[in-house]
Amino acid sequence: MITNHIIADNIITSLGFSSEENINGILDGKIGITDHQDVSLSNSPINLSLVDTNLLNNRFEYVLRTNNQNFPDGSFTRLEKLFILSIHDALSKSDFNHREKRVLLVISSTKGNIDLLEERYKAKFNHKRLFLWELGKVIGNFFGFINPPLIISNACISGALAIAIASRWIQKGLYDYAVVAGGDIMSGFVISGFHSFQALSPEPCKPYDINRHGLTLGEGCGTIILTGMEQPPGSSSVRVVGSAISNDANHISGPSRTGQELSFAINTSMKEAGLSSRDIDYISAHGTATLYNDEMESKAIGLSGLNEVPLNSFKGYWGHTLGAAGIIESVAAFHSLTCNTLFRSAGFESLGVSEPLRVIEKNTSCKLNTCLKTASGFGGCNAVIIFQKN
């Protein structure tokens, strides 16, 4: 049986342009959520986690220059630049030829280039760029991937689902390498929609806290490279050892009342990995900080017997990054394993869900081997991935 290994990764958020910058930011207690007054995004001031536009453009120009790529100014959208920078960073940290038939590119995004619906962009980009497959083509062609990319758009579990699919296909022997990238940008489109749901918190979000008042939106991008190829003995890598997806079959915009369906996915993924609840050292949960999401998760975690397992949500650092969330939170979670440190769940003070949870209150060193990542989203979907150190 082929096993899979994660050989490289990247995170881009308000905290930085690499996994290291983001992890160091978390260890230093940095919060990327700030007050923004940008009328192209929102009529009123709003808390957001945004990637700095000047830094993004400078880094992008640098990558083009160092790769002798000549594109006229304005050839790429904001989201395409994020994807290209993220994948470029991950590829530069690995050593294989990605221009090969045995390599698959997987792209996860909820809204893609949705900002191109705005009048100001209509003359600048062909309307084809609004289609997710065209976004995939632009990214794939930039790097010279041979296979057409697999595009996943499954609300807020998109990133976690993309990792699940990639790991399964690697294990099945369909590909030797999978480059899995997920990203979404902030736009008036997304902000106005969540605002109309009254789902946005007036202050930076506080997952699982008694005083949580909704979510904070963020933008970002992340990449994970998986391989089924044998790794040199002694190399320290993380594997995906289990995954499962489920649906609440309850409501299109509200989570399950019981948490049974997320719990089913947790149990199925533990069974696949041959693990019991005692083997899980840490949970990287979805934790959007809406009343109903966090409550549902606490019930699911209770049903699966994981109440005592240390848990955090990364959304207090960089907000809810939608199609990027499943990827960048997974990367942060397995970096937690490799540096044997539990990261503080930012924004949390006192527990405000009905089932007991062990929310991590400060960065703590301890031996860690196995992490369970959860994600849930509109449409009633839930995803669970289990990562384990070699």
């Binding site: 809204k111 289609f131 497959w133 595009i151 758009s153 489109f189 079959a249 089913f264 509109f378």
Partner: protein, 216 residues
Amino acid sequence: MGLFITGYCTIGERKVIVNDQLRYYQENFLNFADFIKPLYKQKEINYPKFYKMDSLSKLGFLTSELVLRESNIKKYREEDLGVILSNSSSSLDTDMIHQNTIKDRSNYFPSPSVFVYTLPNIVIGEICIRFKIKGENAFLVSEKFDGRLIYNYVNGLMEQNRLQAALCGWVDLLGDKFEALVMFIEKDEFTDKKSSQFFNPSPFTEQNIYRLLQRN
């Protein structure tokens, strides 16, 4: 393990085919709304939520309903059933409706009942609610209908026993252009070969998937 297409439905502009039979035909096609409403009424479905759905969800819901009402879906556990759908336009049709509600600052009226449909997998959520489907689900996007992708994805899930039966296919809509194919896939040992007096289950293969879409 053999997999079979034990039921299918295609809905295109003007006609509806269920299990090889023409079940509905509209001579003069005008637009999606005028096509789907009489179809829904004629099929006596009685599901008031239908009227709240966006066009993509209406199309996916109705195509699934017409397949599953002639299936043995009830014999499966909720967790053993899954939905895997794909399309080209994602939720762009409803995205444009939402964008229109926010483009003018003096006439700004974003609505949660529109915004919730700006995700392509909401149609999967609607189908799961209607038929109590709780297993693996995924929404994939490809430029054109990709029978190989659907085949590989569903085959993998069934082979690994993550699912015992799956609803899968293609549900695409943008403006008044639309195309839907939804198939119910079951394993050999569970397939009741005489489940429909009019339809013989056909093996679930890439070629057969393309054949069904072309019938439309």
